[in-house]
């Protein structure tokens, strides 16, 4: 635990060193959401998104989107925290020496996400407050069922993060991989819309992703939208996926990392 905290402390120090980045983490989602807000207005009568309400059961399009974005910022924190952190260390030339330290590589990776997740919680609170102010949304729902579904989903993301980190070690390029992975995950799991509007083959893929149930359950709990399956079943599915993704992720990372050690490519970038 002490080692995890030491890594998190180092990352927090780096974040404090670049304060513009902290400001941008609050402001950037607003920049992304403003066109979405005006897109919603173009399809709405006043503040009521009539077509959207027919799909989801709520005409408050922006509240739907903002809840999705808050969960997606945790997705980014874990994926970026693990995959991109490795690339930064590769470029700075410290990856090999860190890797040779007497601690499991998995601990290094999890440590790199701690500060990122903490930072995300703070910036998400700022972002939610700004969204209420600028877009006039309200989130009337229940917090406990929301947390119950989000927790296994976020832990399950670590499994995906391990796989992502292993791929970055092999390919030595993080940006494209993480950017595209993150974006596709958002598209398929319904970050901004109900997955029922996707073309049929994509719906099948979507239902295989744990994150789909995370977004759907979170919105059902907080906004009263119609869930894909009853909420208790969504929580059960999220737990099941969590166990599976973490197991597959740790196993996959171990294999990819061993291969890099054998080939001696850890110091390359």
């Amino acid at each position: 635990m002490r080692r995890l905290l030491a890594i998190a402390r180092k990352d927090l120090l780096l974040m404090v060193r670049y304060p513009l980045l902290a400001v941008s983490r609050v402001v950037e989602p607003i920049a992304w959401l403003t066109p979405v807000y005006f897109l919603g207005r173009a399809f709405s009568r006043g503040a009521d998104a009539v077509g959207f309400a027919a799909w989801t059961g709520t005409g408050d399009y922006m509240a739907f989107v903002v809840v999705g974005w808050i969960l997606s910022s945790y997705v980014s924190a874990v994926l970026w925290g693990m995959g991109f952190a490795l690339k930064t260390e590769m470029d700075a030339g410290v990856l090999e020496s860190n890797w040779l330290a007497p601690q499991p590589p998995a601990l290094l990776l999890v440590g790199r996400t701690l500060a990122s997740v903490l930072f995300t919680t703070v910036t998400s609170a700022g972002f939610a407050a700004l969204a209420v102010l600028l877009f006039g949304i309200s989130i009337p729902g229940r917090l406990l069922p929301a947390v119950t579904i989000v927790l296994p989903v976020v832990v399950g993301l670590y499994g995906l993060g391990f796989l992502m980190a292993g791929s970055v070690l092999r390919m030595r390029d993080a940006n494209t991989l993480i950017d595209i992975g993150n974006y596709v995950l958002g598209l398929l799991s319904g970050r901004d819309y109900p997955v029922s509007i996707l073309p049929r083959p994509l719906i099948v893929l979507s239902l295989l992703l744990p994150l789909t149930y995370g977004y759907d359950g979170l919105r059902a709990a907080l906004l009263g939208t119609r869930p894909l399956v009853p909420l208790p079943a969504e929580i059960g599915l999220a737990v099941l996926f969590m166990v599976a993704t973490v197991a597959i992720g740790v196993w996959g990372f171990g294999r990819l990392e061993r291969r890099c050690r054998i080939e001696g490519t850890l110091a390359q970038h």
Binding site: E28, A31, F43, A54
Partner: protein, 268 residues
């Protein structure tokens, strides 16, 4: 300049995952807006008539794909050019390059040439993806589209140059990219008709060259508008090109003088 462009192409070849990005992004990026629009239109098109009223077209797929592609062009230029000097600073090679007897501005222009090649591939994939995968209905005037793209090049790369210099000065690429691209994202109407903007935002939008690139491209590609019908947009883009190219050069010279005077070339 040619040597720098060649070096950029070598680096690009060294990291083949960029090919994945250039091939996938033109189709992938508009999808989030397209699926959102599909959801907003409703199962029986309840919201579509409202969109058609403000946009002047019910072809929301073409409307969004053009806006998103133009913004992505600006985005990849800002990232590519903006982070090029910063990446060298982080790798520790900037100072030695800066001390070589090659003109420093040429180094940046060489990088821009590498980025322009990437943008060319991006556009080609975008056109094929829009027509084949997204099946965007078009009524295109090729001369109109070529004129808009040609007159957008000076302002986009001028802004990119000023941007790269700014990153060198402030030593932070991500936050500055987020800010600049965010301004264009909010105001330039990449996914929505400008008619839904409040008055003051509409006035800001009219001063952004990206707004004119997008409205010009939409008119040329969806409405068959030739150069003669696009004179207001083309004139604005031409003036923007002159101003931003000059600004890019002046900013670079000023930052170059500053970092050499303060010895800040290698610090990060």
């Amino acid at each position: 300049m040619g040597a720098v462009a060649r070096r950029e192409l070598l680096i690009i070849r060294r990291y083949p995952s960029w090919i994945l990005g250039v091939v996938v992004w033109p189709v992938l990026f508009p999808l989030a807006y397209l699926f959102s629009s599909r959801a907003l239109a409703g199962p029986r098109g309840e919201g579509l008539s409202l969109f058609a009223q403000s946009a002047g077209t019910a072809n929301y797929v073409g409307f969004i794909v053009i806006g998103a592609t133009a913004w992505m062009w600006l985005n990849i230029t800002l990232w590519g050019l903006g982070t090029s000097l910063r990446a060298e600073q982080l790798r520790g090679t900037l100072e030695s390059n800066w001390l070589s007897p090659a003109p420093r501005f040429a180094m940046l222009i060489g990088t821009a040439a590498g980025e322009a090649i990437k943008a060319g591939v991006f556009f080609a994939v975008s056109v094929v993806g829009s027509l084949v995968i997204l099946r965007v209905p078009v009524n295109a005037s090729v001369p109109g589209a070529v004129a808009v793209i040609g007159l957008s090049i000076p302002w986009i790369y001028g802004l990119g140059t000023a941007f790269a210099a700014g990153v060198l000065r402030f030593k932070e690429a991500n936050a500055i990219v987020y800010f600049v691209r965010g301004v264009f994202l909010i105001f330039a109407g990449i996914s929505f008709p400008l008619a839904v903007l409040p008055g003051w935002m509409h006035r800001v939008a009219e001063w952004l060259p990206l707004t004119h690139t997008i409205t010009g491209l939409r008119a040329a590609l969806l409405d068959g508008a030739g150069p003669a019908r696009l004179v207001p947009q083309l004139t604005f883009l031409a003036y923007s090109g002159v101003v931003l190219a000059a600004l890019g050069y002046a900013t670079f010279q000023a930052v170059d003088a500053h970092v050499r005077r303060t010895g800040a070339v290698w610090t990060h």
